[in-house]
């Protein structure tokens, strides 16, 4: 066996340039597929991370998936009702404190409750419709990504004396307001109060930056005249992937609609699946081409080495010896190629990760972004496993042919 190995290595070493070409052929295939996979998976992860980051992982609102059964229907199950006037529900999540406490007992992650209502901001003669979100600043910071997007001030500043508000920077610009300005907030119930701007955030999402305002939960409750009401519980889980399970359980427990982020972004995630199929097709194609390269080179070597096969067989080497010899040569090239390929893949990833580009976002200024790359040993393992398998096959087929050659035919041919 060692003899066969030595023969194989000598064969390979004895043909410097061809060997280098073979190894490079494999290495480029392996390297590019690693880089490709890293880039594709990196951008996907980055995309999802941004999605997961900016959204609550599970959002529980005071809606229900199916309309509530009316008391009359419960009383007279056999009867069919027409034109029944539904009982008016109290809006918001019933008994929010108990609901919140029961969730807290088992949900793996953090949670915040808030009251979300619509309103109008009035300042300097302008009226702009906004969402008014009543929050508890100390909890909100652990759940919302907005906490990290402050240009000025913070959620904590809401707690300072007086009525305070945090707004998106675009909204502030449209109003012509700045830090310290007192703006008028008008609720659907007609309540109107002055709030002082103590913070501005910039999330990068225009819709949010120009229409979200945050006030203290109790202020929101006063504005909408709903004491102790909550209509929104947002969960931020330790493991975002657990969201669907948690949402199902929360929905079963509370009866309110709980939407995991996957459901909220279904169409985007579907697009990602399509993208993944494209990616694996491309990576597979690269590896396939590399595999053909390996096949080509090994079978060329086998062809050129026909004379050696005849010699070795005439000396008393068996068919299986010959098969093994060329199989080993194929595998050795595949192995060397994938090791070099790892290096190429790593360098490519590194280079790509250094590329910076600027996205100019309208009025907001520029953001500098780097290509997101995802480093996974699996990419390396899969790429080189594929390279080894294809070089094994590429070695084996010509090897089988070589082993069956009759030495006499070759000796006659050489004479």
């Amino acid at each position: 066996m060692r003899l066969i190995l030595e023969l194989a290595l000598t064969h390979i070493a004895g043909r410097g340039r061809q060997t280098i070409v073979a190894i490079l052929g494999v290495a480029l295939g392996v390297g590019f597929s690693i880089a490709m996979a890293a880039l594709m998976q990196g951008t996907e992860k980055d995309f999802i991370a941004q999605l997961v980051d900016t959204m609550p992982h599970v959002q529980i609102s005071d809606e229900r998936r199916t309309p509530r059964r009316q008391p009359a229907e419960d009383l007279f199950p056999a009867a069919q009702f027409e034109g029944l006037r539904p009982k008016e529900d109290r809006r918001g999540i019933l008994n929010p404190a108990a609901a919140f406490a029961s969730l807290r007992a088992w949900v793996p992650g953090r949670m915040a409750q808030s009251l979300r209502t619509q309103g109008v901001v009035r300042y300097a003669g302008r009226d702009i419709g906004v969402s008014i979100i009543g929050i508890e600043p100390e909890i909100e910071a652990s759940v919302s990504s907005v906490a990290g997007d402050f240009v000025q001030g913070s959620f904590d500043a809401l707690q300072a004396g007086g009525n305070n508000i945090v707004v998106g920077d675009t909204l502030a610009q449209r109003l012509g307001a700045s830090m310290g300005t007192t703006i008028q907030l008008v609720s659907p119930t007609g309540q109107s109060r002055g709030f002082k701007i103590v913070g501005q955030f910039h999330t990068g999402s225009n819709a949010r930056d120009e229409s979200e305002t945050y006030v203290l939960l109790k202020n929101a409750q006063i504005l909408s005249e709903r004491q102790n009401a909550i209509n929104d519980i947002r969960l931020r889980l330790d493991d975002p992937e657990a969201a669907p399970r948690v949402a199902r359980q929360a929905e079963a427990e509370l009866g309110y609609k709980a939407v995991p982020w996957q459901e909220a972004n279904e169409s985007l995630l579907e697009a990602l699946v399509v993208r993944n199929i494209v990616m694996y097709t491309v990576v597979g194609a690269i590896l396939l081409v590399a595999g053909f390269g390996i096949y080509n080179i090994i079978s060329t070597i086998t062809h050129e080495k026909a004379r050696d096969i005849a010699i070795l067989k005439s000396l008393g080497f068996t068919q299986s010896n010959m098969r093994r010899l060329f199989l080993i040569e194929g595998l050795a090239l595949g192995f060397a190629g994938s090791v070099v390929g790892w290096l190429i893949g790593f360098l490519l990833c590194f280079t790509l990760s250094q590329v910076e580009f600027k996205i100019s976002g309208g009025a907001v200024g520029r953001e500098i972004t780097r290509l997101p790359l995802f480093w996974s040993p699996w990419h390396y393992a899969i790429a080189s496993a594929f390279a080894l398998v294809s070089s094994g096959v590429a070695g084996y087929l010509p090897a089988r042919h070589a082993a069956q050659l009759n030495p006499v035919d070759i000796i006659r041919g050489a004479a």
């Binding site: 003899l3 004895g14 008393g316 000796i411 004479a415």
Partner: protein
């Protein structure tokens, strides 16, 4: 004298649209310490017969015994083993492995047989090469040697596993007369001094004239098989 090779009506037909008979009904026995030349015109089947005797090729019909063992029932691996241990080949072209040194080339059959330790193998290989006058060339590559030297390396390799029979296919066919003479002398010494049997295919009449036994083929058939009184050394 014990019989080494016993061929009984060997026939080899190349299957083709028009089948070609290479060797036809050849029966012969080869004993110890014989120096045999197979002669004949081009295409008379000399080499084909040699390949049959050397187990490189299987006869279409007929039986071949090597050392008393019937080879027709043996599978390819068993034939390879037999080739490795009891036969040595020298071809018209040296057929050395170009990437290996002279010494490694000679070691190769020994390593395949796997009987000796590494140091014993290189000692034996070096000894064989020195006996053949190649003492200073052990670490050279085959392409650094002259044609005659290469052919001597090939002879050393054929002797590596100490076979009973050395088969030579036009061993001097591509050598000049001086080198031919050297190789002939070496082959003759294999018989006279080492007690081997040498079967050489040749169309060099000068060589054929000086062997112990001449087998002449025409169209794949033995037309004469004559033992010559011992030629002077």
């Amino acid at each position: 004298m014990s019989i080494l090779i016993e061929a009984d009506r060997l026939t080899r037909i190349l299957p083709a649209i028009v089948p070609v008979t290479l060797v036809r009904d050849v029966s012969l026995t080869v004993s110890e310490k014989e120096f045999i030349a197979i002669t004949g015109p081009s295409g008379s089947g000399k080499s084909s017969l040699l390949y049959l005797l050397g187990l490189l090729d299987r006869p279409t019909s007929g039986a071949l015994k090597i050392g008393g063992q019937d080879t027709s029932q043996l599978d390819d691996d068993a034939l390879a083993r037999l080739r490795l241990e009891s036969l040595g080949f020298v071809f018209q072209f040296h057929f050395l492995l170009p990437e290996f040194s002279v010494l490694k080339n000679v070691e190769l059959p020994m390593r395949k047989a796997g009987r000796l330790s590494a140091s014993e193998m290189s000692e034996r290989a070096a000894g064989l090469l020195e006996d053949l006058g190649l003492a200073g060339h052990l670490d050279k590559r085959p392409d650094q040697l002259s044609g005659g030297q290469r052919q001597r390396v090939a002879v050393a390799r054929a002797l590596a596993n100490d076979p009973h029979v050395v088969l030579a296919d036009e061993p001097t066919g591509s050598l000049d007369s001086k080198s031919s003479e050297q190789v002939f002398t070496i082959l003759r010494d294999l018989v006279k001094k080492r007690g081997k049997t040498v079967i050489a295919v040749t169309h060099d009449m000068d060589i054929a004239a000086r062997v112990d036994r001449r087998i002449h083929l025409v169209d794949g058939k033995v037309v004469s098989d004559e033992r010559v009184a011992l030629s002077p050394a």
